[in-house]
């Protein structure tokens, strides 16, 4: 009797769940679109627009990378090959448009980049996806080096050391859109970014997307439910290369130059870093990662020479203490919010945050002092940091740094147990109410 009850009850529940999720999706996508629309109005400086544009490009690139890493379990060390080669094809087409040889609206150039990326996905992916796991990773590394090396061998296509530059203001202006002003370029990037995000999310909800998860979890078992895992990897690689190529095409429009660096190991490593920092286990993880990465690489690099050091440290801390990335840290709070218990955590979070900020200040002061003395001492040893002027060669700033380290460490040591205790209490309470509810 009980089973028949459940039988008739199940599909209705599933439908309810489905409708509820559908609504949540529309809300999230609308919110994202709104953010993209409004952000450049709030931050309207040239620098902010440039930053936002690069974020949009990086988001597409990181999400395409996560189709491999997070969704299919393929660790690639050469993903820039696809965005970079897509960009090269796009730049040649754009120059063709400029010379009047090809007709194409500039707005559709990212599609050309995407198709170019996919083409090379078909070509190289056939080789790389023959194997999985470590072997796959090694082959992608090899292909990446190979393409980078050949960029100097084929100067006609790759433009040699100087790369290939272009002019995005070509053809007739449609509705007054020339892509001269940066803001217009930003909105083009935002539109493509939103479309790509939706498409890549939709992909995770298709048979191929789900089977890619299955192949990630257990390739052998996937073969025994009828799937050729090599074929699955190959198809995912081509699709991923397509979206990587779109980001490449957008970078052509944004920067108006493509060089060998676009296919290089630094780019491939960067997208790996961004995806890990954001968290490969959740669809939106790479979005956070891409935003943070651009903040480091573009915003922070204009403030300090040591930005790469900070990025490296941040990456190491994430991998060691939050292996699921920033996204996992956020998602852990969701059940608390649902149970209206996040407020209970906030005091201990605030304590940990203030201790963390003191430690961060100590770190920044130490790093900047060392940089000043070791690298920049030719210009004298006086420096300013956060509005304070001091002499790096004197004892005072070092004493301040030491005091900050001490205070931060002590604060952290008292705050961390508080967080753990509050967390355990809240979890126990939630388990109790869940147990009582059944």
């Amino acid at each position: 009797m009980k089973t028949t009850m459940q039988q008739s009850y199940e599909p209705a529940a599933a439908q309810g769940r489905h409708a509820h999720r559908q609504l949540a999706h529309y809300a999230i996508w609308s919110f994202t679109a709104l953010m993209m629309l409004v952000l450049p109005l709030c931050f309207s400086s040239r620098f902010a627009i440039a930053l936002l544009s690069q974020m949009g490009i990086a988001i597409i690139f990181a999400l395409s990378y996560n189709m491999l890493l997070g969704q299919s379990g393929m660790l690639s060390f050469g993903h820039a090959v696809y965005s970079g080669l897509g960009a090269f094809i796009a730049v040649h087409v754009l120059n063709g448009v400029g010379a009047g040889k090809v007709w194409l609206p500039v707005s559709l150039l990212p599609l050309v980049g995407g198709l170019g990326g996919a083409l090379f996905g078909v070509l190289f992916g056939y080789v790389t996806t023959k194997k999985a796991g470590t072997t796959f990773a090694m082959i992608t590394l090899g292909i990446g080096e190979m393409v980078y090396a050949s960029s100097l061998m084929f100067p006609d296509f790759f433009g040699g050391e100087g790369g290939i530059s272009t002019d995005r203001v070509v053809g007739h202006a449609v509705f007054g859109i020339t892509y001269g002003p940066e803001r217009q370029v930003y909105y083009l990037i935002a539109a493509w970014c939103l479309l790509s995000m939706i498409a890549m999310y939709a992909w995770t909800q298709t048979p191929l997307g789900r089977i890619a998860n299955a192949v990630r979890d257990n390739p052998e078992r996937a073969e025994f439910v009828g799937y050729d895992t090599q074929r699955v990897r190959y198809l995912v690689m081509i699709l991923s290369a397509f979206f990587a190529g779109i980001s490449g095409g957008l970078s052509v429009i944004n920067f108006e130059i493509v060089s060998a660096e676009n296919v290089g190991a630094v780019q491939s490593g960067g997208v790996l870093l961004a995806t890990f920092i954001g968290g490969s286990g959740f669809f939106f993880g790479p979005v956070i990662g891409a935003v943070l990465y651009v903040l480091f690489a573009v915003a922070l690099s204009s403030l300090t020479h040591a930005w790469l050091l900070y990025l490296g440290l941040f990456f190491v801390l994430i991998v060691m203490f939050v292996p699921g990335g920033v996204a996992s840290l956020l998602m852990k709070q969701v059940p608390l919010i649902a149970a209206r218990k996040l407020g209970r955590m906030l005091p201990s979070y605030a304590a940990a945050l203030s201790a963390g900020l003191i430690l961060l200040a100590a770190l920044i002061l130490s790093v900047e002092l060392i940089y000043k003395l070791q690298i920049d001492s030719d210009n004298g040893t006086t420096m300013t940091l956060a509005g304070f002027g001091f002499d790096a060669a004197s004892l005072k700033p070092w004493a301040v740094a030491a005091a900050l380290w001490l205070a931060g460490a002590l604060g952290w040591r008292t705050a961390l147990p508080r967080v753990h205790r509050a967390w355990d209490d809240v979890q126990a309470e939630m388990a109790e109410t869940a147990g009582g509810g059944v």
Partner: protein
């Protein structure tokens, strides 16, 4: 009538060691067949040779009269043979429901589609829900598979195996490591889900073997030394000898004679 599964003179060598030394086996459609034998006799290897996990060194394996020896696992699976594993082999980060849905997608013809939306594939959902009910894991529907208990994971393992609707089912030690009550449930489950299908199983629990099997084959040192009904196997002198005075009775205390 062609046999559902027919092995003739199947041999498998690893280096110079011959693990499978000329197996002949014929299993009729709809039969429940148990493969028993001491540890290291080559039972799991035989399963691997049939299901495509490894390639026979020589001999032929036929599924419904078609040669399948040496084909890839996914090709053999698409021809209507599905297997489970001795060590639980599931998609551990996916939910129970998603595990089952993955197992039905190919058989329903969705292949590598990235233009269908899973939520709209009512037949896939319905089939997955059916299997979910069959294996009794409705309450665990949305739980990540790695968080299931051992017995539940074994049930899911069987669910994944049968979900695609294969006509020939190979189960490798489905009740290994289970308690008595769990074993009884598992036997009931196997009986239900393989009704009308051809079942080949490797099993150590003689209670399960004698309770389920229509016929039994005894494998010793890579050879089938006897095939027959449970009654015939129980009284076979060669089998008794192979088990070195051990017993094939359900209840070990009775089997001392």
């Amino acid at each position: 009538m062609t046999a559902a599964l027919e092995l003739s003179k199947v041999r498998k060598q690893f280096g110079k060691t011959e693990i499978i030394r000329g197996i002949n086996l014929s299993i009729a459609k709809g039969e429940r067949h148990a493969l028993i034998g001491p540890n290291g006799a080559g039972k799991s290897t035989t399963f691997n040779l049939i299901s495509g996990r490894s390639t026979p060194s020589s001999g032929s394996v036929k599924l419904n009269g078609t040669e399948i020896g040496g084909l890839k696992p996914f090709v053999i699976n698409r021809m209507g043979l599905s297997r489970s594993f001795q060590i639980t082999n599931i998609f551990h980060r996916l939910s129970v429901f998603e595990n089952l849905r993955c197992a039905v997608l190919w058989s329903l013809g969705y292949k590598y589609s990235f233009w269908h939306r899973l939520a709209r594939l009512h037949d896939a959902r319905q089939r997955a829900e059916e299997v979910l009910e069959l294996i009794g894991l409705q309450r665990q529907r949305d739980i990540q598979a790695s968080l299931l208990t051992y017995a539940e994971q074994r049930a899911l393992e069987i669910g994944i195996t049968i979900a695609g609707g294969a006509e020939v089912i190979l189960l490798d030690e489905p009740t290994a490591g289970m308690s008595h009550s769990e074993t009884d449930q598992a036997v009931e489950l196997i009986r239900n889900v393989t009704a009308g299908k051809t079942l080949v199983m490797v099993e150590h629990d003689m209670g399960v073997v004698f309770g389920l099997a229509d016929r039994i084959s005894v494998l010793v040192y890579g050879e089938v030394i006897a095939t027959g009904t449970p009654e015939a196997i129980r009284n076979d002198s060669k089998v008794k000898e192979a088990y070195l005075g051990g017993t094939l009775d359900e209840n070990p205390t009775e089997g001392a004679h």
